[in-house]
Structure formats: structure tokens, C-alpha cells
């Protein structure tokens, strides 16, 4: 199994490759003696302020090469508010999947496995009249649906920005991670309800035939855990959009396997006569799933809420503001707002009031450079001249 290259470290604030919160830190510690220079130099290329004294700065240089900006000229001359056709969108996404990166292929394999398994389970359940199997198959189908959505998003998020989605489609990954996390929270809640149900109900109704399906389910999910083992952390430091999506997929398969393991354990404990085994196990699983998923939920929720980037401390922002207002020709800085489009891509805007007659170009360069060092790629600065 080849090692994953370290992805571009945008907005890296003192996280080294050894930081255990990164998805690839284990590989990083292997790789560092071999490829420390290559990865670092590309990062330096992006992070070095590209306005040095020798530059004749006629223009404010556009931000990094990895952004593609939409301009009205690129659009079709229709000029209407027509959104792109949904079916053509879906087709293009499937084309992307075939040429996708390794996690997409793994996810696709996992989903097919899950679909096959749940179909078999459904058919068996229907023919033998075992309701438990049917319910398990339905539950699995829900999960599959979500994973398919994640896969779809992995393909769709690579689309270039267009007139309607000026920031591109990367947000979809955050959305998919949020939906996954939400579903897992729902699942933890429903497991708690099941535990309550088992507490009230007579334990002899425990469906022991479900053990076979639980074992198979566990096996299938452990394959998924192995595939996504790079994301095996609870508090992951997300560096780009795909991180969130893949982390959510990992948590999904992990919680599914925990659930199956819990059911198997409960069944075994019941068979050796432990009282209230099902209640205990289900309750434990419910609590475990909740604690596992909550950090992801909060992180994705924070991005969707336009929260200030968590990777940049508030003190850094205030320091920037102080540095800007400390300049003698700047009277006031206001309305400084920053948010993250996806982890690693920070967008911001601020308003500066300057004395009358001051040349705004050096100020613009100064401000852009200052914030660029913090990883804010897209910055819009409005300069007002006092009268």
C-alpha cells in the first residue's frame, strides 16, 4: 500500500508534520527522512509573501494558483438565472468518480459491498419472514444512501466555480460531513431509545438469529475501517475539504462496527445469563457513538455557521488589526470579518479608513501580505478616504 503524499499545508500555524492530529501523521513520520524537502518547498512557495521589495508591484497579484475565479465573461451569454441541469450534473459527477482518487474508489467498493449485502439480507428476511433481518437491511440501506451521497459529493466538489457558485463546490464536502455527523447523532439517539425499549420489554424477545447478520455487518464495516484508517482520529485537524468528508465516512463505518460488536456482545452476555445485557450494551454503544461524532459535528457546524477560522487564534486577528491601525496614515479599521469556506481556505473582508490623499496601493499590499501570512487567501479590503 503506497503512502499518501502530505497535502498542501495551507494556513499552517505551527503544526508540524508530527502533529498527531493530522490524518497522515503516521506516514509523515516515515516519510520525513525521504521527502522532507519536496513537500516543504512547495509550501514555502505558497506561503512566502510574494511581495518583496524587489517586486515592482504594479498590480496586486492574484492569490494562489489553485483558485479559479469566475468572471462573467466565462459564462454562456444566456445571462439568465438558469441553474445547470441536474441530470447532466449527475452524469459529470459519475465521470469524475471513474477517474477519482483512491478514497473515492475505496468508498465505491465499500458501498457496492454494502448494497450487495443488504440486498441479500433483505431477500432472506422477506422469504423467511424474519422482521429483524428486514429492519437491519433497511438500516443498512439508510447508511448506504448516506455513503453514496458522500461519494457523489467527492466527485461533485471538483467542479470549477461558475456564475452561480462563485466559490466553487468544495462546500459540498463540508455539507456531506455535516449530514453524516447528523445521521450518526440520530443513530446514537435511536440506539438510546432502543436501549430504553429493551429495558421496558422482556429480554426473551431478543432476536438471536440476528447474530449472523451482525457478524457479517461487523466484517463489512471493518473492511471500511481499514480502508479509511488514515482518518482514525476523533479530533482531526482538517487541512482541506476532503479531510472532513473522509473523516465522516470513517466515523460512519466505525460506529456501524461498534454497533454490530455491541449487538454480538449483548447476545453472548444474554446467553450466559447476564441480566439486562442488551440494555447495557446498547446504552454503551449509544454513548460511544455520541462522543465519537460530536467533534466532527461541531467542526462542520462551525464552518457552516461562518465561524471565524478555528485554526487562527483570535489573538492573531487582534494583533493584525493593531498592526494595521498602528500605521500612521490609517485612521480606522472596521468590519473585519473572516470565515472559512472549507478547512484551509479562509475568506475575509475589512474596511479601512485612511487620511485624505494617501496612496492606497502600498496600504493594500501591506494588508494583503499581512493576512496572507496567516493563510487568508481571499481578502477584500475597502479603503475609504476621509475628507
Amino acid at each position: 500500500m503506497t503512502m499518501e503524499p502530505i497535502q498542501t499545508l495551507n494556513g499552517d500555524f505551527g503544526f508540524t508534520g508530527n502533529d498527531r492530529r493530522f490524518a497522515f501523521s503516521r506516514q509523515a513520520s516515515f516519510q520525513q527522512p525521504r521527502t522532507p524537502i519536496s513537500t516543504d518547498s512547495t509550501d514555502l512557495g505558497l506561503r512566502k509573501p510574494f511581495l518583496s521589495r524587489t517586486d515592482s508591484s504594479i498590480d496586486i497579484p492574484p492569490p494562489g494558483p489553485h483558485h479559479h475565479y469566475w468572471s462573467g465573461h466565462d459564462d454562456k451569454p444566456s445571462g439568465s438565472l438558469e441553474r445547470s441541469n441536474f441530470s447532466s450534473f449527475v452524469l459529470s459527477v459519475f465521470r469524475n468518480i471513474r477517474s477519482g482518487h483512491r478514497y473515492m474508489k475505496r468508498l465505491f467498493f465499500m458501498i457496492s459491498l454494502n448494497v450487495a449485502y443488504s440486498t441479500v439480507e433483505l431477500l432472506i428476511g422477506l422469504f423467511t419472514g424474519r422482521v429483524g433481518l428486514v429492519s437491519d437491511a433497511v438500516h443498512l440501506t439508510f447508511g448506504c444512501g448516506l455513503l453514496t451521497f458522500s461519494l457523489f459529493v467527492m466527485g461533485a466538489s471538483r467542479k470549477k466555480p461558475d456564475g452561480d457558485y462563485t466559490y466553487g463546490y468544495k462546500r459540498l464536502e463540508v455539507l456531506s460531513a455535516f449530514t453524516n455527523a447528523l445521521f450518526l447523532l440520530f443513530m446514537s439517539f435511536s440506539l438510546a431509545v432502543e436501549a430504553l425499549h429493551a429495558f421496558i420489554q422482556d429480554e426473551s424477545e431478543h432476536k438471536h438469529y440476528l447474530n449472523v447478520s451482525a457478524v457479517t455487518n461487523l466484517f463489512v464495516n471493518l473492511i471500511g475501517v481499514w480502508f479509511f484508517r488514515n482518518y482514525a482520529r476523533i479530533n482531526l485537524a482538517y487541512r482541506n475539504a476532503e479531510d472532513m468528508n473522509c473523516h465522516s465516512v470513517f466515523l460512519h463505518v466505525l460506529t456501524d462496527s461498534i454497533r454490530s460488536a455491541g449487538l454480538i456482545l449483548a447476545s453472548w452476555l444474554l446467553s450466559i445469563g447476564v441480566e439486562n445485557a442488551e440494555v447495557l450494551c446498547l446504552g454503551l454503544v449509544s454513548v460511544a457513538v455520541f462522543t465519537l461524532v460530536l467533534p466532527l459535528f461541531r467542526a462542520t457546524g462551525g464552518i457552516l455557521l461562518q465561524m471565524a477560522p478555528p485554526s487562527i487564534p483570535t489573538t492573531a486577528f487582534s494583533k493584525c488589526l493593531r498592526q494595521i491601525s498602528a500605521r500612521e496614515d490609517i485612521l480606522e479599521v472596521s468590519q473585519a470579518r473572516f470565515w472559512e469556506l472549507v478547512p484551509g481556505h479562509v475568506v475575509g473582508s475589512l474596511s479601512i479608513q485612511v487620511k485624505k490623499g494617501v496612496d492606497d496601493r502600498p496600504i493594500l499590499e501591506f494588508v494583503h501580505r499581512l493576512y496572507h501570512d496567516f493563510g487568508v487567501q481571499d481578502l477584500t479590503v475597502q479603503i475609504d478616504h476621509a475628507s
Binding site: 456564475g163 461562518q306 493594500l364 477584500t380 475628507s387
Partner: protein
């Protein structure tokens, strides 16, 4: 949309109750919000928002209380009659309560003050809450479909068509009451706005009052006949715009506001708060499901051997319920993806800016909404080397504000 300044209190207008002044600078207030934490909106729109929010919250609270009452009735009745169907419906009402609770929380949280970590305020919570609410609807629909399949498989003979019918009918009546309650949008909320004389805040028309000296400064700095203080009439954005001279500021605000309030009332009536809309959709979905169950129950009551009708009805009506959520889901997705709001044509806006003289190019134009109805814009405008940056800035900001009704605008002028 509300521009950055509003009239707080008509009586004390001659005192310093003006929020938009930043420092001591005369014409700064128009472009820069001078409030210390500077939340996303000014006090004027905050009070309008909170009014709208409190009416919505009141509606939802009444709906929740009603729901809880009905749920306890069904719970007691179900336990007494030992009927699973009634208990299931009670559980369904519990899910309604959960959805309303989510909407209520979102509404309440959206009014929180902006913090340094949440520089745009908490308006997005509305959207996230609505998303969670819709996910809940989808989840419940899935559970209902599963239960229908379950009923079919277990071949339960206890499917009593008559009971199904009665329970569903009761549920339908409850849902209709709540739908009427939530969708009921007469001018109750808005009646408060202009009725009270002491509250000089007119939400359609907002006027700034500076000291007269500041007005004079204003006029001296701008040679072109453009208006400096903008009256934001709350009707369609590409309609006519008035330009009044500075002297109009201190004269009868009441006189000027009255005829325009009618239009603003109209506009606010159409726009229902997204959380109330989400709750409304939930209730609507429940009513549709109840109708389906009623039909299924009636058929089974009439011909008990056609049990598959139950499943078919459930599937069909579940699809309808999912269909009703599609529109709102699309709106939510568009906001969360930071896409250009549907009502704004970005290409036309860009063309309009390019048409101005002195403007060479426009790039990095981003228009996005923090929540439905609150739009922001940021772009970089490249101008001729020797043009007057301030003048161009004024023109662009004015154009965007006037024609597209976007007031939170950040323009970077480059040469």
C-alpha cells in the same frame, strides 16, 4: 434590506442617538459601520428582525403547547385502549414537538449578538436548524415506510382499518389546526410597527439624521448630483429611486413614511421565516401522511384482504411529502454553499459596474447570503490609474445598493 443607518428614536434625533457615525468623520457613516462590535446589522434592522422573530416564536410556542396537549391525550387514550396505532401516532406527534423545538431554538439563537468568533452574527443557525428539521422529516418518512413494510410482512391481522381511520382523522385535524396557526400571516405582527407613535422606527423607510453641519460637508464633497443619503424604499430593486436633497432630512419623517409603509408591509408578508416554514412543512407532511393513512384505513376497513393498499398508500404519500421538502432543501443548500442568491443576476451586476466610466475590470465578484434575505457582496474593481478612487467607490456602492438592494458591500478598488 436595511442600509447601515436607521433612525432609532424620533424624539431624540437631535441628540446623539445616531449609530452610524464612526469617529468624528463627517461622511464616514455611510460606508462604515461605527458600532463597536459591529454585528452584522444595525439596530434598526435588529429591532425589525427581533419583532419578526418574536412573532414567529410566539406562533411556534403555541404550536408546541398544542402538540404536547394532543400528544398526552393520545398517549392516555392509547394506553387505555391498548392500541399500538394510537401510540404510534403519539410518537409521531412527539417528533413534531422535536421539530418545533428545533425551529424555536434556531429562531431564538439567531438573535444572539455577534461575537468576535461569529463576526456575522448567528443568523446561519436558522438555516442549519431548518436543515436539521428537514433531515428529521426525511428520517421519519423513512421510518414510516419501514413500518408499513413491517406491517405487511408480519401479516398482522390486527390491522384494524376502522381504528386506523379514526386515529388518522384525529391526527389530520390536529395538523390542520397547526398548519393554519403557523401559516396564518395577517398583519398582526406588522400592525405593531407603525401603530405606536413613540416608536419612530419605520421599517420601510430609513432616514439618517446627522447634524446639519455634517450634511453640508456631505454636499461639498460630492460634485455629481447623486444623492448622498439614500432612502431605501423597500420595493423592487430595479424600480425608480428618489434623490432628495439634504434639506429633507429633518422634516416630517412621519409624513414621508406613511405611504411607503403599505408597500413594506406587503413585502414582509410574503417572506415567511424559514424556521416557521420548516415547521409548517413538517405539519403539512404529517397531514399528507394522515390523509394517506385514512385512505388506506378506509380501504382496509371496507375490504380487509387488500392489505397491500396500506403499503402503496404509504409509499405514495411519503413521496409527496419528500417532494414538498425539495424546494426548501434547495434554498438551504444554496445558502450553505455560499452561492449567488437566485434573485440577483451576477452577470448583469458585473456588466453594470463595468459600464461605469473609469472602471477597467471587475474580478473576484462574490455575492452570497448569510441567511435568506441578507445578502453580502465583495469584489475587486480595477480602475484607471488616475481616477478618483473614492468617487468610483461611492458610485459602485450606490449602484449596488440602489439597484440590487444589497447594503453589506465591500469593494476593493485597485488601479
Amino acid at each position: 434590506m436595511h442600509p447601515l443607518f436607521a433612525l432609532m428614536d424620533a424624539h431624540s434625533s437631535h441628540h446623539g442617538h445616531i449609530i452610524e457615525i464612526s469617529g468624528d468623520l463627517p461622511d464616514a457613516g455611510r460606508k462604515i459601520c461605527g458600532e463597536a462590535p459591529c454585528g452584522f446589522s444595525d439596530a434598526g434592522s435588529i429591532s425589525l428582525d427581533s419583532k419578526e422573530r418574536s412573532t414567529s416564536m410566539r406562533k411556534l410556542l403555541v404550536a408546541v403547547i398544542l402538540c404536547v396537549i394532543f400528544m398526552t391525550v393520545e398517549l392516555v387514550g392509547g394506553i387505555k385502549a391498548n392500541s399500538l396505532a394510537i401510540l404510534t401516532d403519539a410518537a409521531h406527534l412527539l417528533s413534531d414537538v422535536a421539530a418545533f423545538a428545533i425551529s424555536l431554538f434556531s429562531l431564538w439563537a439567531a438573535g444572539w449578538e455577534a461575537t468576535p468568533r461569529q463576526s456575522y452574527g448567528f443568523y446561519r443557525i436558522e438555516i442549519l436548524g431548518a436543515l436539521v428539521s428537514i433531515q428529521l422529516i426525511w428520517l421519519l418518512t423513512g421510518i414510516i415506510v419501514y413500518q408499513a413494510i413491517d406491517r405487511l410482512i408480519t401479516g398482522s391481522q390486527e390491522v384494524d382499518g376502522f381504528l386506523m381511520f379514526i386515529v388518522a382523522a384525529f391526527g389530520l385535524v390536529v395538523n390542520i389546526i397547526m398548519a393554519v396557526l403557523l401559516g396564518h400571516d395577517h398583519g398582526h405582527g406588522h400592525g405593531h410597527d407603525h401603530g405606536h407613535g413613540h416608536h419612530g422606527h419605520s421599517h420601510g423607510l430609513t432616514v439618517s439624521t446627522h447634524d446639519l453641519t455634517k450634511d453640508e460637508h456631505h454636499h461639498h464633497t460630492h460634485e455629481h448630483g447623486h444623492d448622498t443619503h439614500h432612502h431605501n424604499e423597500n420595493h423592487s430593486k430595479d424600480a425608480h429611486h428618489h434623490s432628495h436633497e439634504g434639506h429633507i432630512h429633518h422634516h416630517g419623517q412621519e409624513g414621508v413614511t406613511e405611504p411607503l409603509l403599505g408597500e413594506s408591509k406587503d413585502k414582509s408578508k410574503k417572506k415567511r421565516n424559514i424556521n416557521v416554514q420548516g415547521a409548517y412543512l413538517h405539519v403539512l407532511g404529517d397531514s399528507i401522511q394522515s390523509v394517506g393513512v385514512m385512505i388506506g384505513g378506509a380501504v382496509i376497513w371496507y375490504k380487509p384482504e387488500w392489505k397491500i393498499v396500506d403499503l402503496i398508500c404509504t409509499l405514495f404519500f411519503s413521496l409527496i411529502v419528500l417532494g414538498t421538502t425539495i424546494n426548501m432543501l434547495r434554498n438551504i443548500l444554496e445558502v450553505l454553499m455560499e452561492s449567488t442568491p437566485r434573485e440577483i443576476d451576477a452577470t448583469q451586476l458585473e456588466r453594470g459596474i463595468l459600464e461605469m466610466e473609469e472602471v477597467v475590470a471587475v474580478h473576484e465578484l462574490h455575492i452570497w447570503a448569510i441567511t435568506v434575505g441578507k445578502v453580502l457582496l465583495a469584489c475587486h474593481v480595477k480602475i484607471n490609474r488616475d481616477a478618483d478612487a473614492d468617487m468610483v467607490l461611492d458610485k459602485v456602492v450606490d449602484y449596488i445598493r440602489r439597484v440590487y438592494n444589497i447594503s453589506h458591500v465591500t469593494i476593493q478598488i485597485e488601479r
